[in-house]
């Protein structure tokens, strides 16, 4: 949630605030570098998914209007432009999901804060692998047939 300081293991590897001339406070999980950027991305993707979901429940609700109305709207999901938008959406979800697991591990795993930076790169790695599995197949579906 807000600012959170890490436990002793991380601090002992960085100089004490009093012994460094660096302006950046040492041993801060959410200020600067990987810890901060993962938080920024988590927040932006969370908001984006939320607004998508609002629209998505409404477009799905058209199945109760008529088959024709539903097909007309879902047809727009099948255009090339929306196909690229779906790549962005899936990319956002996959990052938010994997980084969410990282947050949970930071909170509950005793070594979580020590490895938060390493886990960020694991999240990026898993994201790349998932997207390699998804994007080509999806784009073939969108741009052919």
């Amino acid at each position: 949630m807000s600012v959170k300081t890490v436990g002793t293991p991380e601090q002992s590897r960085e100089p004490e605030l009093s012994t460094t001339t660096s302006r950046r406070p040492a041993g801060t999980l959410y200020r600067g570098r990987e810890g901060m950027w993962s938080w920024v991305l988590h927040r932006i993707t969370g908001v984006a998914i939320f607004f998508f979901l609002l629209v998505h429940v409404l477009d799905t609700a058209l199945v109760r209007v008529s088959p024709e109305a539903y097909n007309a709207v879902i047809g727009t999901y099948q255009t090339p432009v929306m196909g690229l938008g779906e790549v962005a959406l899936v990319g956002a979800i996959v990052f938010h999901a994997f980084n969410g697991i990282r947050i949970i591990l930071i909170d509950f795993w005793s070594k979580g804060t020590v490895y938060q930076r390493a886990m960020f790169y694991v999240v990026i790695g898993l994201w790349v692998i998932t997207m390699i599995g998804f994007v080509p197949r999806h784009l073939i579906n969108v741009f052919s047939h």
Binding site: M1, S2, R43, G46, V47, I49, F50, L53, L54, V57, L58, T60, A61, V63, R64, S66, P67, E68, Y70, N71, I74, Y77, Q78, G83, E86, V90, I93, A97, G100, I101, I103, I104, D107, F108, F134, R137, H138, N141, V142, H145
Partner: protein, 152 residues
């Protein structure tokens, strides 16, 4: 000379003694529990709708009719709807608390979030459970229905 006392970092902003349920804590727990379940539900949803067969190109009324003839997908989608709307709504509330400065703006934004979450959960749940895969349609639309529907 009067000395200023500075509160220790974790002192709550409001009154120090609070009683009753710690909602903020349970919200925190909820974000984590729902997150893990949502990972499975949403990845499953995306896999079946985007990766299997022709992916997004195969989605139409008949596709939804096929899925929602099966109670398994009805429960799956309803669970996903409730968990995701509440998770997202609670997350948006945190963000409003962080950035909205005036009490009025906070009230308005959080009211809007709550209203949209409640309305969409009710709407989405009704849609799943009142859905009819074979509605009465005019003859020129009959081909849009799932293949298992009786010929009109």
């Amino acid at each position: 000379m009067t000395s200023t006392t500075i509160d220790s970092p974790r002192t709550p902003a409001g009154s120090a003694k609070r009683r009753g349920v710690n909602w903020e804590k349970w919200g925190w727990v909820y974000m984590r529990v729902s997150g893990v379940v949502l990972l499975v539900l949403i990845f499953g949803h995306l896999f079946v709708n985007l990766m299997v067969g022709e992916g997004v190109k195969a989605i139409d009324f008949a596709f939804v009719g096929g899925k929602w003839s099966d109670p398994f997908w009805k429960v799956w989608d309803t669970l996903m709807l409730w968990l995701a709307m509440i998770h997202g709504g609670n997350g948006m509330r945190t963000i409003v608390n962080d950035y909205a400065r005036t009490p009025v703006l906070r009230k308005v934004l959080k009211g809007a979030i709550l209203a949209s979450v409640v309305v969409l959960i009710v709407l989405g749940t009704l849609v799943v459970f009142t859905f009819d895969p074979c509605p009465a349609v005019s003859a020129d639309q009959a081909h849009l229905l799932p293949s298992f529907c009786p010929a009109p």
